[in-house]
């Protein structure tokens, strides 16, 4: 098992890995999915190296910094990601189109507030594709929007003293030209 190479196709891998979240939920995921989470992969590889002599393989991996809610979403995203990759192994362009389509649909079911949990979880798990995807989603939601829109989007209130904000706006006048409509 320690020598088994990573398989890009989730269906060809029957090994399961168990992940335990900070709120004590247990997820059983295919090895190919778990290996996309670099933090898990690292832990898994270390464990295997340590267990080579004893012959045991414990595959329960604790994730003290990840809650079950974002993890479930990340697993779904990851499975689909692998599936699309496997289906279009020899056509990169098709793969990108499928991926784009899936990601657009995916975002419709994600509340903006969920994105921060997802980003933190993807960051902790070191799942690069998901991290980039969610960050891009947040960024494109506020790209060139007005300060007021951004505040409303994140539920923020200004805590500047009177005059402070105006001073900043003056100092950075170049970035307030041609703001997109809300």
């Amino acid at each position: 098992m320690s020598n088994q190479s990573e398989s890009p196709n989730p269906t060809s891998s029957s090994n399961k890995i168990t992940l335990k979240t900070s709120d004590n939920e247990v997820f059983e995921v295919e090895e190919a999915v778990a290996m996309k989470f670099c933090t898990v992969k690292q832990y898994f590889d270390d464990e295997n190296n340590n267990n080579v002599t004893s012959g045991t393989s414990t595959t329960l991996i604790p994730l003290p910094n990840v809650e079950s809610h974002p993890l479930a979403i990340l697993i779904t995203y990851c499975k689909k990601h692998l599936e699309i990759k496997a289906n279009n192994a020899d056509n990169k362009k098709e793969m990108e189109i499928d991926m784009e389509h899936y990601e657009r649909e995916f975002l419709k079911n994600v509340m903006p507030q969920e994105l921060t949990e997802l980003i933190l979880a993807a960051n902790y798990l070191n799942f690069k594709e998901a991290l980039d995807f969610f960050c891009r989603a947040v960024a494109s939601a506020i790209q060139n929007k007005s300060v007021e829109y951004v505040r409303k989007f994140f539920g923020l209130e200004s805590d500047f003293k009177p005059g402070e904000e105006e001073k900043l706006r003056e100092e950075f006048a170049w970035s307030f030209e041609g703001v997109d409509e809300d």
């Binding site: 994105l115 960050c135 494109s140 923020l156």
Partner: protein, 275 residues
């Protein structure tokens, strides 16, 4: 490192200033945050910042004190500056804050950025192979062959702009300029005191006039050490970037260690090319 080809300088500059629209956008109406968690996570914003253009970052910084502190962190601006210049981090230390470099770097007719770390080769000929002249002074090199080598060049990131300059003959206020100039400067230039106060002395290193009829005006700058690189050679592949004969718009080509411009000229036009 793929070559970066510019169809039209102006078009390209516009594209760069506005960061590319990405695949998705959250169009759901803004909703107040849930109280159980917060957006106040620095790590999250360091990642999101990588996908925001400079102007959006500033607007984010103006939303609250917390965002001002997080977004104005210079490591974010280093990333954004190098990202938008499409260049890897240079090994040299920079003397100024990346935020200031960013703001000073993005208000020209931008061609792009390139790296210099040896002497520099200037030429008005874009036909391969590049021949380094062997005269002993820069002035002689320029006069005889229209190209020269300059030592003592500050290494690091250089920014190349194409500028329109009014011709010295007519100084009409209504004229935006008709003379095209390939302008290259070290990214830190504008921030130096001596430059800002105008206390530096400048020196004209030479000039080269072309008297015969030519099809186009061109000029290029190469890092000598990387002159034979594949990426630099892309500059000489004129078919890939120079405009068709009737296309009189300026075109530019930039690679990691070189930059070149060419503008086709109408027949009967003289050409003046000074460096």
């Amino acid at each position: 490192m793929g070559k970066r080809q510019l169809q039209s300088v102006v078009e390209h500059m516009r594209k760069r200033l506005r960061s590319a629209k990405r695949i998705c956008s959250c169009t759901s109406p803004p909703q107040p945050s849930r109280s159980s968690f917060s957006w106040y996570e620095e790590d999250v914003w360091t990642e999101i910042a990588k996908f925001l253009d400079g102007r959006s970052l500033i607007k984010l910084a103006v939303t609250s004190k917390w965002f001002q502190r997080v977004i104005m962190d210079d490591s974010i601006w280093k990333f954004v500056c190098l990202r938008d210049l499409q260049i890897p981090a240079p090994p040299q230390h920079v003397d100024f804050k990346w935020f200031n470099l960013y703001t000073s770097a993005f208000d020209w007719m931008r061609i792009g950025a390139f790296l210099l770390d040896s002497s520099v080769f200037l030429t008005e000929k874009l036909s391969p192979p590049p021949k380094i002249p062997n005269e002993d002074t820069v002035e002689k090199m320029l006069q005889s062959s229209g190209c020269c080598v300059l030592d003592n060049v500050k290494s690091g990131i250089w920014i190349a702009d194409l500028q329109l300059v009014r011709c010295p003959v007519c100084e009409l206020n209504t004229c935006d300029g008709t003379m095209q100039t390939l302008d290259a400067r070290h990214i830190e230039l504008f921030l130096y005191d001596g430059y800002q106060k105008g206390s530096w002395e400048y020196q004209l290193i030479g000039s080269h006039d072309v008297k015969e009829r030519v099809a186009g005006a061109s000029g290029a700058i190469f890092d000598v050490k990387n002159l034979k690189d594949i990426s630099s050679c892309a500059v000489f592949n004129l078919n890939s970037w120079v405009g068709k004969i009737n296309d009189l718009h300026p075109k530019a080509m930039i690679t990691l260690h070189a930059v070149a411009v060419n503008t086709n000229l109408q027949e009967n036009d003289g050409k003046e090319n000074s460096k």
